[in-house]
């Protein structure tokens, strides 16, 4: 059995009287691609928010590397190895692509003012290292030529790539992607699949929320299905595609519920 | 996002305006320290209402006024009072705030039914307060505030036992033209009624007397930077410079002028009285000549007696004229009552107008018809870190 990196137990989020997420268990294992699917409003994004520290759970616990982290802030979760992209892209639009990545890259550097004033060897070395790392990631994502452009000058698809690169820059162990393929052409979707696989090949676990069934069925090792905030199924793509509850949820089962 | 930023910028603009207004006003003051010894309704007492700033910025001076009044009242009461009645001093803090000043004066007049009123530290507060006391013809004494307008309002119940701005400027000009070699002066003035009024009086008297004012520069209350004004004045090469303002800013003017390498004769007015200029400007104040109303000098029996009594009672030597002038004011009222042999306001006012050559701590006092005393100012010079009197009127 591969190691469990993230373990969420009985996680619930309540907005007013409404359960956005209700008693959900999620395990993310090392090196796997975990798909999360469900109809609109099933609680997928809220679950991702809980896993990245943007939303405090009303109940339940989250463990990363066997430590409880339910009360950590978003930046601490980033530091613990949880990277994320958003359905609605969140980048610092006023900066260039490379500047966006450099901010993320500083998470692991230690540099004081004295280093800068003295222009020490260490300063040059780390600056060079994170710049190299950023360029390498941009090449990987196929946007190396856009490094000096401002985010606001990029297309939607390019911004999604930058966001993934930004997340990778913080050296995540687990990368959460929230509908990375939304609005992509079939050809772009294929490129995305290759990209996700290459990320996994670097030893990073991927949690993928995606509407495109073709993408998710071909990529995911395991799939969790949410409906009305609750987990209704958990298994391999094959098991899921044959699951009674899932089929009912997706084929207008809400009418009978 | 951008729109929000613009809104913030607009907001800041508004807030800056508000803050400028706050800045222009006196800062809010602390708690009311006035003794609340309210009227007991006894007919055996003469009640003197005292109003001045006893908390906040000018409290230091208001407190000295209060001490002067207390000392005079105690001495009179020890001798059995006036007409067999003891004096009761009712003290009120006006925080140097005109609306507060009117409020406490109104209370003194209607609730405490005072027989006489003494106040305040600021000319503007005094002006509004005497408007109230004059309605009932209550004898009102102004020992400290020096704006000309106070005794120009046709009130028959207002007395000032200290020289006003105009008299001060006139006597200063006469002194400079007669005793000093400087005929070409520049003025740096506080941009207020006080500073502008004094500087205009000085300029007109000085020019009439044959002197020349090469330029007049202004600064705001609370200003800290005077290099621009001083650089301009320096370019005019005057023989001396007159500071028409108070010591808080004036001390910085002196220091910054010294830093600019300016060696010149400095002149100023009553705002520089007392020990504050030496403390605040240090060596930069050396040589300055300024008008003075009173200094606790040795060799004058009347002054020595007052200074010793003050020291015994309050532990400190009186600084400048605040306590002496208020001390004289209380005694002047007592003199008026003694002469009138009654507490009737009208009769006391008549008696006060007829006072001539009363010998107070500050010198000889006679009230003119408008209530302004024909008193003279002294001249003092700061030498080696101490104030010395260089001219004292007969």
């Amino acid at each position: 059995m591969s190691k469990i990196l993230v373990k969420a137990e009985q996680v619930s989020v309540k907005f007013g009287g409404l359960w956005a997420v209700k008693k959900v268990d999620v395990d993310v294992k090392a090196g796997e691609i975990l798909g999360i699917i469900g109809p609109n409003g099933a609680g997928k994004s809220t679950l991702l928010n809980v896993l990245t520290g943007l939303q405090r759970p009303s109940a339940g616990q989250i463990q990363i590397d066997n430590g409880y982290v339910s009360k950590k802030d978003a930046w601490q979760m980033v530091k613990m190895g949880i990277g994320r992209s958003f359905q609605t892209i969140r980048l610092l639009n006023e900066l260039t692509v490379i500047e966006n990545l450099l901010i993320g890259g500083h998470l692991y550097t230690k540099r004081g003012l004295l280093d800068v004033l003295g222009r020490t060897v260490r300063w040059r070395k780390t600056e060079q290292q994170i710049t190299n790392k950023a360029m390498e990631l941009l090449q990987l994502l196929g946007i190396g030529h856009k490094a000096q452009e401002e985010i606001s000058a990029l297309s939607l698809e390019e911004r999604r790539r930058v966001e993934i690169a930004r997340a990778l820059m913080t050296r995540p162990k687990v990368l959460l992607l929230d509908e990375p393929g939304a609005g992509f052409s079939p050809q772009e979707s294929d490129q995305l699949c290759e990209l996700i696989l290459s990320i996994r090949n670097r030893g990073i676990s991927v949690v993928l929320v995606e509407h495109n069934m073709k993408v998710i069925m071909s990529l995911a090792d395991r799939i969790i299905v949410l409906d009305h905030g609750q987990k209704i199924a958990d298994g391999t793509p094959k098991e899921i595609s044959e699951d009674e509850l899932v089929i009912r949820a997706y084929l207008g089962g809400e009418d009978h519920a | 996002m951008n729109k929000w930023r613009l809104k913030t910028v607009g907001m800041c603009g508004t807030a800056i305006l508000v803050l400028s207004l706050l800045n222009a006003c006196a800062p809010p003051k602390g708690a009311d320290q006035a003794s609340s010894s309210k009227s007991s309704g006894s007919k055996e007492e003469i009640k003197i209402g005292f109003v001045s700033q006893l908390s906040g910025g000018g409290a230091l001076y208001g407190k000295q006024m209060e001490n002067g009044a207390k000392l005079a009242v105690d001495e009179i009461n020890k001798k059995g009072g006036i007409l067999g009645k003891k004096i009761k001093l009712i003290i009120q803090d006006d925080q140097a705030n005109p609306s507060e000043s009117v409020k406490v004066t109104q209370r003194l007049v209607t609730e405490d039914r005072i027989n006489a009123w003494i106040g305040t530290l600021k000319s503007s507060d005094t002006l509004t307060d005497i408007g109230i006391t004059s309605k009932q013809d209550i004898p009102s004494f102004v020992p400290v505030a020096v704006a000309n307008s106070i005794t120009e309002s046709d009130y028959t119940n207002v007395y000032r036992n200290v020289a006003n701005n105009s008299m001060q400027a006139k006597m200063f000009v006469d002194y400079i033209l007669k005793k000093q070699p400087h005929k070409k002066l520049a003025i740096i003035a506080e941009n207020t009624d006080y500073g502008r009024g004094l500087s205009e009086d000085f300029k007109s008297f000085f020019e009439k007397g044959g002197g020349e004012i090469v330029n007049v520069e202004y600064y705001n209350v609370g200003q800290k930077e005077f290099n621009d004004q001083l650089t301009k004045i320096k370019g005019e090469k005057p023989d001396g410079i007159v500071i028409s303002g108070l010591v808080a800013e004036g001390a910085l003017v002196l220091k910054q002028a010294q830093d600019l390498g300016m060696k010149t004769q400095w002149y100023s007015f009553g705002g520089f009285s007392g020990a504050a200029p030496i403390k605040l400007a240090g060596k930069a104040a050396d040589g300055m000549i300024h008008t003075e109303y009173f200094t606790p000098i040795k060799g004058d029996k009347k002054i020595e007696t007052f200074v010793n009594a003050y020291k015994t009672k309050f532990g400190d030597k009186p600084d400048a004229y605040y306590s002496a002038a208020t001390y004289d004011a209380v005694n002047l009222y007592a003199e008026g009552v003694k002469k009138a042999k009654t507490l009737d306001n009208k009769k006391v006012n008549d008696a006060l107008h007829s006072i001539s050559n009363y010998q107070g701590v500050m010198g000889s006092i006679s009230f003119q018809e408008d209530g302004q005393a024909t008193t003279k100012v002294w001249m003092a010079q700061i030498k080696d870190g101490a104030q010395t009197v260089i001219f004292r009127p007969e």
């Binding site: 978003a74 | 807030a15 930077e225 930069a284």
Partner: protein, 290 residues
């Protein structure tokens, strides 16, 4: 000619001082969105701590350094009590809170230290350089030198360090910055402390020239706001350049137009800028900050 040169020097010295105070103000605005009306009061705190330390026999240079620390520590307390609880609230509440802090600190100082001005002695007091008729006091030279060093150090700190990049990210979008691993709350704390401590050191430096008294900060806050609005809210190089510009405008307005309308002229320039270029004269495109 000498008069012109002297006016220029006066303006530059004043500008250096304004830059230092405005730098703190703009940093805090950038990261916290807080228009801090209590900024000048930290100069008062720096000034008073220098006063008491020098009185106790501490050497002036050390007193300046401690003034920096004292302003920082009081800044931490103020942040905890007056601003941190309002972090979820809107920016107008924060601004009002800062006005309250300003009044509170002024009144507290009046209560504790009396409203009277106090003299701080520096070893440089009363000494001037004479450069062919142009005089500049040594204390003012010190103000210029230290202000220049601190502005440069802050600028480099922001441009070239992890802290600087974090501040940049947090000032652009505090929520998004957390996704880059930026501890926004901690950065906001550190920026506030740095911002007020810079102003504290300004207060300790100007104390020997201007004396110290409880209300000394109010006019300083006002000038710093003019500088910051002129240079672009949250724009660091704008604050530094803006300080020098305002210093020169003030000096030349006093020297060549009228000393009675010096402030009026500075504010007129401000309002013209607000009308023509509300994002500040030194902000090229929207959002070029920190």
């Amino acid at each position: 000619m000498v008069e012109f040169a002297q006016t220029l020097v006066n303006g530059l010295v004043l500008g250096a001082l304004y830059s230092l105070v405005a730098l703190g103000l703009t940093l805090i605005y950038g990261v916290m969105g807080l228009a801090n009306f209590a900024q000048g009061e930290f100069a008062m705190i720096g000034g008073f701590s220098a006063f008491f330390l020098v009185q106790e026999g501490v050497s002036y240079p050390l007193a300046v350094v401690i003034g920096f620390a004292v302003a920082g520590i009081i800044g931490l307390l103020v942040h905890l009590l007056a601003f941190y609880p309002l972090r979820q609230s809107n920016h107008i509440n924060m601004m009002l809170s800062s006005l309250g802090v300003s009044l509170f600190l002024v009144n507290l100082a009046q209560y504790l230290f009396s409203p009277n001005p106090q003299v701080v002695k520096s070893p440089l007091s009363g000494e001037s350089f004479n450069l062919g008729g142009i005089f500049i006091s040594q204390q003012r030279v010190l103000i210029v030198v230290i202000s220049f060093i601190l502005c440069l150090a802050t600028f480099l700190l922001l441009k070239h360090t992890k802290f600087g990049r974090s501040v940049q990210a947090a000032s652009l979008d505090p929520d998004t910055a957390t996704l880059y691993g930026v501890p926004t709350k901690r950065i906001s704390f550190m920026t506030f402390i740095l911002g007020v401590a810079l102003t504290g050191i300004a207060g300790a430096l100007l104390a020997p020239v201007y004396n110290v008294y409880p209300t000394m900060g109010i006019s300083l806050t006002l000038k710093a706001f003019v500088v910051v609005v002129l240079g672009g809210m949250g724009n660091v190089s704008g604050a530094i350049a803006g300080g020098v510009i305002v210093g020169l405008i003030e000096s030349f307005a006093g020297g060549y137009i009228s000393t009675g309308f010096q402030d009026a002229i500075v504010f007129t320039v401000l309002f013209v800028v607000l009308i023509l270029k509300p994002q500040g004269i030194l902000t090229k495109v929207q959002g070029e900050k920190v």
